[in-house]
């Protein structure tokens, strides 16, 4: 019922929006939201903030570009029903690898090791020409055609992104209720006790990272179709920080908030130029981020819930922002 309330207007969106709003705002928000979801998932259920999500998304994107049609003459074209699963598998494996490297790091240490992995990957793509085509990267990447219609068609790409977002959210909520998902949350809350029970903490941590890699990879595939290109810029510090900002705006401990954050971010990114001097865009985004961190550490999602709760029962105290900090 609740889902239908959200889903119906979203399905009706293409009827009211022009191509620009549908693609540049709605679709882009959904794609960035899926990438940010991969971060929010880790933050919520494993308690780890990862800066390597742009890397995992990038690996999926680069796979699509390398094994797909492109205009730079690097790579081998394969049919899309091979490249898509392959991209998801590579992204998942890269997530597992990041998890394996960072398995013993918590809190700020995890932030920094994942940041190092992200930056190392960025420099590697910039320097390597045989796989990543260096600085220039891949251009002319085309989304596959189904029955003669390109998936890059505004309506199709929107619906595809919407269903990906829906599936991703459903996967997250299913995964966290599975035995493995519960173990992951146990690792977050009391790693010592999990160890005492004789369960290895490595497996759940690696699994959580791998799963986040799968989510990021799905976003990465959509992103490379949307942009029709990928380069070292797509995995640099800019996108790394953008994904973080989106998750924080939405609320790091609310997976669904990633999409709220993405909409706010995309609107700011697209229209701030009409309101303030473009040169000062970074100040604006920095101030927004700082305000969220200071005023609403639970993000906009939490803020909205608190207000809703207050409206319903004026006496009730808002739920604590973070149950597990």
């Amino acid at each position: 019922m609740k889902q239908a309330l959200i889903l119906i207007p979203l399905l009706a969106l293409p009827l009211v929006l022009n191509d620009f709003w549908l693609t540049q705002v709605a679709t882009r928000s959904l794609i960035l939201g899926v990438m940010a979801l991969s971060l929010s998932f880790l933050a919520t259920y494993l308690g780890v903030v990862s800066f390597a999500q742009a890397t995992m998304a990038g690996i999926a994107g680069y796979t699509i570009a390398y094994f797909g049609p492109n205009t730079v003459g690097v790579g081998t074209p394969l049919p899309f029903w091979v490249t898509i699963p392959m991209a998801l598998i590579f992204a998942t494996l890269s997530g597992a690898l990041v998890g394996l490297i960072a398995r013993r790091s918590r809190g700020i240490y995890a932030i920094m090791i994942t940041l190092a992995i992200g930056v190392a990957f960025f420099y590697f793509t910039r320097q390597n020409y045989t796989l990543f085509n260096g600085w220039t990267g891949f251009s002319g990447v085309r989304a596959p055609e189904v029955a003669g219609v390109s998936l890059r068609n505004p309506l199709l790409l929107y619906l595809l992104s919407l269903s990906t977002a829906g599936i991703a959210l459903a996967l997250v909520s299913g995964f966290v209720r599975s035995p493995l998902g519960l173990t992951i949350q146990a690792v977050r809350d009391a790693p010592g006790r999990v160890l005492a029970l004789g369960i290895s903490v490595t497996t759940p941590i690696v699994a959580a990272f791998a799963f986040s890699g799968l989510l990021a990879g799905a976003g990465g595939i959509l992103n490379v179709w949307y942009q029709e290109r990928i380069s070292s810029f797509s995995v640099g510090l800019g996108p790394i920080i953008d994904i973080l900002i989106i998750s924080v705006i939405g609320g790091l401990r609310h997976p669904g908030g990633a999409f709220v954050g993405a909409v706010v971010f995309v609107l700011l990114d697209t229209f701030a130029v009409d309101l303030i001097d473009r040169e000062r865009f970074n100040t604006l985004i920095g101030v927004v981020l700082l305000l969220i961190v200071i005023v609403a550490p639970g993000g906009l999602q939490q803020l909205a819930q608190d207000w809703a709760a207050r409206l319903r029962s004026p006496q009730a105290k808002p739920k604590q922002a973070s149950e597990h900090s």
């Binding site: 540049q24 205009t71 320097q127 260096g134 251009s139 290109r229 309101l275 303030i276």
Partner: protein, 412 residues
Amino acid sequence: MNKLKLAASALALCAMSVPASAEDVKVGVISILEGAFAALGQDGIRGAELAVLETGGEVDGNKIEVITMSSDASPDSAVNAARKLIEQDGVDIIVGPLSGSEGLALRDLSKSYPGVTFLNGSSAAQDTTLRDGSDNFYRFGGDGAQWMVGVGDYAFNDMGYKSVAIVAEDYSFPYTQVLGFMTEFCEAGGKVPEKFWTPIGNKDYSSVVYSIPQDVDALFVALGGADAVNFLTQYSQAGGDKPIIGGSITIDQSILDSKGPFKKLLVGAPAGTPTVSDYDGDEWKAFTASYTEAFPDGFSAPSIFAHHYYMSAKAAVMALDEVDGDLSDNHAAFRAALNDLTFTTPTGGTMRLDKNRNGIIDNFVTEVYEREDGTLGNRVVKVVRDVDQLLGQDEEAFLASGAVSRDNPSCP
């Protein structure tokens, strides 16, 4: 200030909601208006606006509306800017972008929008037009190789350098610049025994400095901005004394104005560029006067970016004028006019396109000289007219030598 801007943009929003008359032509200009390049990117916008101002803002009664968008030097942001201009603002023509990778990205994007005509700003990647070009993407300017024409020849014949080592940033623009230099230099009989490709943004070049072979006659340095300052400082501090040859963005005025100990190394250094700010040609003087009158708060003279955006926007308004603003049938008449367009550039040459829609340009060989007051400047030693993208070579042979890379070209 900000309130004013807000009011202005509110006005602009109102203006946009008034349905534009069918004949109005909307031109979107994309440049880098944020980050470290913002000041230079702004000058590109000035160049485009100047070309429109000179027509009085209209062609044959069709008003020309200019809408600017910013990118952040990344190809993704340039594509997003172009999409917003096309899909939200409904522009007919796009002028821009500024940098090489952005140019390649917009060239690819242009294939998805056959109803929009793209005119390159100042981006200078070779393949934007040479390989896999796009029918609606035009460049009224040169690429990074064209911008070096004349220098290799001058270094070998006039300066007498037989062997040159190269220090350059490790990405496509310097590769192309090296091609422009080496094509002439190697053909004349020169040798390039070693190339040092350094990561862009590298700060500490000291280990490169000590690896430079002692038996070369000069160094060709294709680094930009802070990288050039750092390299030249460290090279001179380590006692390096080889003469320098500069790329198009290596020896700009800000480097000549800085107080680094490397200045004595630079006196007499040749470089290649399509734009010399204080060139004393008549057309350039007129262009500079028109620029400073229109933009009192601009630079003291148009930069390379103002120059190139100006040429593209000028081509657009001239072609529009020729077809009386007729953009019907996917700009068919307008594009035909662009293809056949010929005009006199601010540097006094004749601009026209080759069959790949790439400009045939003028290029300068400059050298650093000491002014009477002890400051340094660049002065023109040679003008090369009618430089085409094939660098005067046979097309088949030129294309057969393949795309530029770390190892191509090579003449050790």
